[in-house]
């Protein structure tokens, strides 16, 4: 059985690069730096990702974060809103966050996201 791939755009705006990982149907990659102006960009992308994950009935979505240098609290809030939505709307899929633990902010902020929804968020090391 073949699984349809997600049809997500490659976005490069406001210091963020967001897009699907080529060849993987349930994987996206975030890179760059997310400041206040990036929050709307990230929010739009996560909304698309959520819709795609639901329509393809994915059981998991993986976000590659190793190249994401930093996000401030506005961008973190966009991730919080997405995770909260998945957690409170039937937990249709799990969210795997692949971090680079050498970055202090990734250790602390991803742990924060996991505490928000421990049944949904899985942290993996790159």
């Amino acid at each position: 059985m073949s699984v349809a791939a997600m049809e997500l755009p490659n976005v490069e705006e406001e210091g963020l690069q967001l897009g699907p990982v080529p060849g993987a149907n349930d994987r996206v990659r975030f890179a760059g730096t997310g400041e206040a102006e990036g929050a709307a960009v990230l929010d739009r992308f996560l909304t698309l990702l959520h819709r795609q994950a639901l329509s393809l009935e994915l059981r998991r979505v993986t976000i590659e974060l190793a190249e994401l240098e930093f996000i401030n609290s506005s961008c973190l809030k966009a991730m919080v809103a997405w995770i909260y939505k998945v957690d409170t709307e039937g937990r249709p899929y799990k969210i795997h966050l692949r971090r680079d633990a050498s970055m202090h902010w990734q250790r602390t902020s991803l742990a924060t996201l996991q505490r928000l929804a421990p049944e949904v968020v899985v942290i993996e090391e790159t």
Partner: protein, 164 residues
Amino acid sequence: MSQIAAARTAVSFSLERSHSLAGKIANWLIDFCQMTIGDLETTSRLHMAAHELIENVLKYGSTPEVGLEFELERGDKESIVRIKTRNTAAPEQLEEVTRRVTELRAAPDPIAYYDRLIRSTAPVLGMSGLGLARIRAEAGLDVDCSVEGREVSIVVQATMRSER
């Protein structure tokens, strides 16, 4: 830049309230932290704080100019590093930031406080309001504020063991 005394290093900027300029100054400030502190972990925590504080002054500042300071006090046993921002704001913003900082400082467990704040704001669209709590909980820095007239100063600080 001014070298005030052997035990104290401080830099202070007054700058135009612009996103691009503030971001560049924040990055420069972090490079300066790294150079003076030489501690990658503390620098990373200060990096988070600097970006959150700068976002706040850009968002809530009501005049074209804002202030940004970095200070390192070296003692024999421990050193203190501070980042301070200064901006004027509308009275309701001054009240709000004072309330938030008071609440944050009174919280016996900063991480539990932060988690509650995240959960309560998660369904709310738009504004995060998480910045100061993130500095306290994730960066593990002390956060304080003072208001004088229409100006608010936010100070975050870390205490480190001195290496000399």
